[in-house]
């Protein structure tokens, strides 16, 4: 590595790839840089470690998502007795291209931007790149994912200054872009269950009973007061199925169990704010209880009991992995409670009372991303006022 280094430095043959080289070098070797001013010792933790830990926390949801893609596929084509490994393999092959596209597009743009600014490559996209495949419906064409990722990385992140400077969660902007640009591909029967073959594996035709809508989608279109969610074969499903996660939905969001394992990792390592995470669930549960106490057939989602409400859709995934993004969330302790509560409340509010968007989590988080600085501003101004008052008393 040291031997080839000079050619990447200014003046060298490959100077245009300096940022990429630095990125690779700091990835492989801990930098030998020692402190010149300030403290002489530093903690071992850096942003690489932080981001990788988040990725590790996403792995359970990722693996389960792969299995579930396969499970839904073989269920839909009437081969539900297929072995679990085949199902997983099918899901792996289905999801892998999305992961590759997401990372290739996102990291490519990051590398270019880093080189333009002659900065080190920053680690933010490590997490975003794995979040995107997990929240984008599996049947989204790859080119759409690529366009949306490029849009989000450039307009939601790089124009603000890169990692740590963005106002909105980049992965959610990707999904929002897809959602509003190609609404027909983002919901309904065809979005969430992959039917055709994945990289040549396991194609088939659906059984007659097939219905590919997510439970939340079904709820939104319910008429009357008899709420019955079904799986892809039209068989009824319960809250427990949603908790385990063998239901149609975006790859990462279906399984509460996998998400809770991720939440445990994030909380144990202290990366995610437990204040935000808990208050999102509290806010969501409270709001869901409230709407359930006032059921109405005009708003069929109000018929769902609060716990099922939280187990369905992207609520839990958003609460654990998206709302807790420290860059776009509230940064003061008090602010984090308010921020989390409002996300929970708005997510259910949108879900229930705006039947155009059966999934409210994405919009709720993006909305609160916009308000997080305001919340912090209010909290900090209390501190400022207290300090000013203290000075005034003295005089």
């Amino acid at each position: 590595m040291n031997k080839i280094e000079p050619s990447f430095r200014p003046g060298g043959k490959l100077a245009k790839l300096e940022s990429v080289f630095d990125g690779m070098k700091t990835f492989l070797f801990t930098p030998n840089t020692t402190s010149r001013s300030g403290v002489h010792i530093h903690d071992g933790n850096d942003l690489k470690r932080t981001m990788i830990t988040v990725v590790a926390a996403l792995v359970p949801a990722l693996l389960f998502g792969m299995y579930n893609i396969g499970y839904q596929h073989y269920l839909a084509i009437g081969q539900s007795t297929t072995g679990w490994f085949t199902m997983f393999l099918y899901g792996l092959l289905a999801l892998l291209p999305v992961i590759v596209v997401s990372y290739a597009v996102g990291l490519g743009i990051e590398f270019i931007c880093a080189q333009i600014h002659h900065k080190e490559i920053q680690e933010g996209f490590l997490v975003t790149g794995i979040l995107i495949p997990l929240i984008v419906p599996i049947n989204t064409p790859l080119w759409m994912t690529a366009v949306a990722t490029a849009f989000a990385v450039i307009f939601a992140k790089e124009i603000f200054g890169g990692t740590g400077m963005n106002i909105f969660n980049v992965a959610l902007i990707t999904r929002a872009f897809l959602f509003f640009s190609y609404p027909s591909r983002m919901s309904g029967d065809e979005a969430f269950v992959k039917i055709d073959s994945a990289l040549g594996m396991g194609g088939g035709t659906v059984t007659d009973a097939f219905t590919g809508a997510t439970p939340l989608g079904q709820v939104a279109t319910t008429v009357g007061d008899q709420l019955q969610m079904t799986n892809v074969l039209g068989e009824p499903i319960s809250c427990m199925d949603a908790f385990i996660g063998l239901i149609p939905g975006s790859p990462g969001e279906t399984s509460m169990i996998a998400i809770l394992i991720g939440a445990a990792i994030l909380l144990l390592t202290g990366i995610a704010s437990w204040r935000i995470m808990c208050s999102v669930f509290v806010g969501g549960l409270g709001m869901a209880a409230l709407v359930h106490a006032l059921p109405s057939t005009v708003y069929p989602a109000s018929l769902l009991d609060p716990v099922t409400q939280l187990c369905l859709g992207g609520f839990a995934f958003g609460a654990v992995f998206m709302a807790t993004d420290p860059v776009t969330g509230a940064r003061t302790k008090v602010g984090q409670y308010i921020y989390g509560l409002l996300i929970g409340i708005f997510a259910i509010l949108i879900r229930v009372y705006n039947s155009g968007y059966p999934e409210g989590m994405m919009l709720a988080i993006l909305l609160m991303n916009a308000f997080a600085p305001l919340i912090d501003h209010c909290v900090v101004s209390f501190n400022i006022k207290r300090r000013a008052r203290r000075a005034a008393i003295k005089q």
């Binding site: 700091t26 990835f27 492989l28 070797f29 801990t30 930098p31 030998n32 840089t33 020692t34 402190s35 010149r36 001013s37 300030g38 403290v39 002489h40 010792i41 530093h42 903690d43 071992g44 933790n45 850096d46 942003l47 690489k48 470690r49 932080t50 990788i52 830990t53 080190e120 920053q122 680690e123 933010g124 200054g161 890169g162 990692t163 740590g164 400077m165 144990l268 390592t269 202290g270 990366i271 704010s273 420290p326 860059v327 969330g329 940064r331 003061t332 302790k333 984090q336 912090d376 900090v380 501190n383 400022i384 207290r386 300090r387 000013a388 203290r390 000075a391 003295k394 005089q395």
Partner: protein, 441 residues
């Protein structure tokens, strides 16, 4: 006696701590240096030229803006060199000690403030706001004295005090006469002190509990318009000695410790002594060592030909880079790779066990991503992250509102250690304070 419990902060338990409190030997000094950078806020105007003779306690230079403020020579001898750097900035004033041991004797009949300013002990104190040498024209609201140093491997100030302990009460009397408020002394839990006339407060908690500014923030915070003085108990005792005997003693006890020291121990020497003489038999491997005059958080990196720097009580020697080209260190699951965060596995072996740390930064500088890291290391009622952002963006109003008057760079040293984004917080705070001071004058 009031007890204040501080929960924020962290004690980094480095290997190489001194066992016991005996002073191993007395080291002479072949040369002695005064470094003007140690006395922030004093712009030097030389009073002595190269080749001139100085007596111990005689001024070497005064402040450009206030001629009364003197910085004195700690020894009697000849000014060997005034070493200058870029733009004629004075890097160091080097004195070759003579054997005559003459000391300036002050007349104690006059104005206490004038005597203190002329003695050279004045520049050992700091004022808040701005963390600079105090202005002589402002009577402080209060005086805050810290009786312990809580930094990693720091010396026990009771050892550094030695028999100067007897002058503490005189020192309190003198400073008490220079303030309209009180003299506060902060002690650590279990430390006893005889301090008539002062308000003694016990601080129970990890570093930075020993910082006078942190103690002030938890007793009576500095508001806009307030001025307080901060100093340590050793300086207080020296002031008491000056007003008892008429002379300032420039001898000091220095803790020499850290991983790269043969045997960590206390050594008696003189302020500003050359480290080549003091450390002659102490080092294990000079080439692989980093010599820090001071502690690992706020000290200054010096060469082995360097000098002891203010506050003249601590030299730490740590490895420069104990693991060159560490392969994928960020992915390590080795519990010996130290981190106070649970993203690494250090917590499995216990964060309080002695740890070896070198001077690598172990990561690249990034924007602030994680929340609450700074607040967890700073036991003050301050939104430190917002303050740092206000300083970086140069927003003077916001800096004032968020309490920059209450802080000094040293208060942010631990946060700088713990920062995942590896920002130079002490430098940022210093620049903010300097900017504000320039704006206000």
């Amino acid at each position: 006696m009031a007890i204040v419990r501080l929960n924020k902060g962290f004690d980094i338990n480095l290997v190489g701590a001194i066992q016991g409190d005996e002073i191993a030997f007395t080291s002479p000094a072949r040369s002695v240096a005064v470094v003007p950078d140690d006395f922030h806020g004093v712009i030097p105007r030389m009073e002595k030229k190269e080749g001139e003779h100085v007596t111990a306690g005689e001024p070497l230079y005064h402040d450009k803006n206030d001629e009364a403020i003197k910085v004195v020579s700690p020894v009697s001898g000849t000014v060997k060199e005034v070493r200058r750097g870029e733009r004629r900035h004075i890097d160091a004033i080097i004195i070759a000690p003579a054997d005559d041991r003459q000391v300036v004797k002050h007349n104690l009949g006059g104005n206490a403030l004038e005597t203190l300013v002329a003695s050279g002990l004045w520049v050992m104190m700091r004022q808040r706001p701005y963390d600079v040498v105090p202005s002589t024209s402002v009577r402080p609201r209060d005086v805050f004295v810290t009786a312990f140093d809580s930094a990693p491997l720091a010396p026990d100030l009771d050892v550094v005090l030695g028999d100067k302990r007897q002058y503490i009460s005189k020192g309190i009397e003198v400073l008490g006469g220079l303030t309209d408020g009180k003299v506060y002394i902060g002690v650590r839990k279990g430390q006893s002190i005889d301090a008539p006339g002062a308000v003694v407060t016990t601080f129970d908690g990890p570093h930075p509990a020993g910082n006078a500014g942190v103690q002030a923030a938890n007793i009576a915070p500095v508001n806009k318009g307030d001025v307080v003085w901060t100093l340590d108990i050793v300086t207080l005792a020296r002031i008491g000695e000056l007003f008892t005997t008429g002379t300032v003693s420039h001898d000091t006890v220095v803790a020499i410790d850290g991983e790269m020291v043969q045997e960590p121990r206390y050594v008696k020497t003189v302020m500003g002594a050359d480290l080549e003489t003091v450390l002659k038999n102490e080092l294990t491997n000079v080439a692989a060592s980093r010599i820090i005059s001071g502690n690992v958080l706020t000290g200054v990196k010096v060469e082995k030909e360097g000098w002891l720097r203010a506050p003249y009580r601590h030299v730490t020697i740590i490895p420069e880079n104990s693991k060159p080209d560490e392969f994928m260190g960020w992915a390590s699951i080795n519990p010996n790779r130290f981190s106070i965060y649970r993203t690494f596995t250090t917590w499995l072996r216990g964060l309080k066990k002695p740890v070896s740390l070198d001077s690598r930064i172990k990561g690249g500088e990034r924007a602030i991503v994680r929340t609450g890291e700074y607040d967890a290391m700073l036991p003050m009622d301050i939104y430190s992250e917002f303050l740092i952002k206000a300083i970086i963006s140069g927003d003077i109003d916001k800096m004032e509102q968020l309490g920059i008057y209450e802080v000094a760079p040293e208060d942010f040293a631990l946060a700088e250690f713990a920062d995942t984004s590896k920002l130079e917080l002490q430098r940022i705070v210093r620049e903010g304070l300097d900017k504000l001071r320039a704006e206000m004058s």
